[in-house]
């Protein structure tokens, strides 16, 4: 029962927290001295970046389980995570250059963090294309791509530590002053609830679609054996 209504509950909670987080960000948070109003992009850009990486890891792990056990649920989880990762990744890759244009004067500097994130997004896009349009035997290739995407995640995380980048380091969130910190968590919570709610709905749809396909196959088989047309 709880499992059935969990995604809807998460989406409802997200719908309640979103207006609060936006009000906090725009009405209660002070304007950052050097970056000005453009800094407010941070409050959703960073959670979207974290979610892209998290979804890539979930997709990679689920794809590995799918490869090993041929599990329908794992396959659905991998596809749903990839779709959410695609949406969040696109959000990061579009809001990042907007913020960069406002603060660096250049939307794209081509540093390691940007390039590795773009690579992850392309891998996710390739995975989705193979899953949606690939031939029946292409699921193994898709799973391999998903695992490759998960391997890219630590590279994205450590890119700002390993190479000289214009992108801020991983310590920014930890060093936020209390006023900005208090506005960051509601936004992160809302976006987490929203994405996991949408992911839950998508998993349910994919499992249902798989069951429907099996039911259609059974009905068609019965028609063929009985020699009767049920329609």
């Amino acid at each position: 029962m709880i499992r059935r209504f969990l995604p809807d509950g998460m989406l409802l909670a997200a719908a309640l927290i979103f207006p609060y987080s936006v009000a906090r960000i725009f009405l209660d948070t002070p304007i950052e001295r050097t970056m000005g109003t453009a800094f407010k992009i941070f409050f959703f850009h960073v959670p979207m970046g974290w979610l892209t990486m998290l979804m890539a890891v979930i997709c990679g792990v689920a794809a590995a389980i799918e490869l090993r056990r041929r599990s329908t649920t794992a396959s659905a989880v991998a596809l749903a995570a990839a779709e959410i990762g695609f949406v969040c990744g696109l959000g990061v890759l579009l809001t990042g250059p907007i913020w960069g244009n406002a603060t660096w004067g250049k939307p794209w500097t081509g540093d390691a963090r940007q390039m590795s994130t773009a690579l992850l997004w392309l891998v996710i896009a390739a995975y989705l294309l193979i899953r949606h349009y690939g031939p029946s035997g292409s699921r193994r290739l898709a799973a391999g791509l998903a695992i490759f995407g998960a391997v890219d995640v630590p590279i994205i995380y450590y890119a700002v530590k390993l190479w000289k980048t214009t992108h801020p380091t991983t310590e920014v969130v930890g060093s936020l002053p209390p006023a900005l910190w208090a506005a960051f968590w509601p936004g992160l919570g809302a976006i987490l609830l929203c994405t996991f709610g949408l992911m839950g709905l998508r998993i349910r749809q994919l499992v249902l679609a798989e069951q429907l396909d099996e039911a259609w196959v059974r009905v068609t088989d019965r028609e063929a054996t009985d020699g009767t047309d049920l329609s």
Binding site: G36, L90, L212
Partner: protein
């Protein structure tokens, strides 16, 4: 040969004789230096050299325009937040359409199974 540049260090004055006014004068000079240091203008308010008052005012005006522009940079914010919410709304519509298609498929299957009865 005479040096081209004279030595900038001043000639040492003749040693003060005991009981003269030299130590008292030195103490007075030191006191004045300390007072000057205390009353001196901080670096950030140091007079601008090599610029006319008009130029300085222009620079300050441009700086204040830039600061206001940074503080009220709503264009970037609107674009960023608009894109984020449009993406989520787009994915929500995609899920809703998939759901409608699944429901139609399920109804068709139900009709198929109920048909001969």
């Amino acid at each position: 040969m005479e040096p081209i540049f004279p030595d900038p260090t001043p000639e040492p004055e003749a040693a003060a004789e005991p009981g003269s006014e030299a130590p008292a004068q030195a103490a007075e000079v030191a006191k004045t230096e300390v007072a000057d240091e205390a009353n001196s203008v901080p670096d950030e308010y140091a007079p601008v050299a090599g610029r006319s008052l008009k130029e300085v005012e222009q620079v300050r005006m441009l700086e204040s325009v830039a600061a206001q522009k940074v503080a009220r940079d709503y264009q970037h914010i609107i674009w960023a937040y608009g894109i984020l919410w449009a993406l989520f709304a787009g994915y929500g519509i995609f899920l809703w359409r998939r759901s409608a298609r699944l429901r139609a498929d399920m109804d068709a299957l139900r009709r198929e199974l109920d048909g001969p009865a």
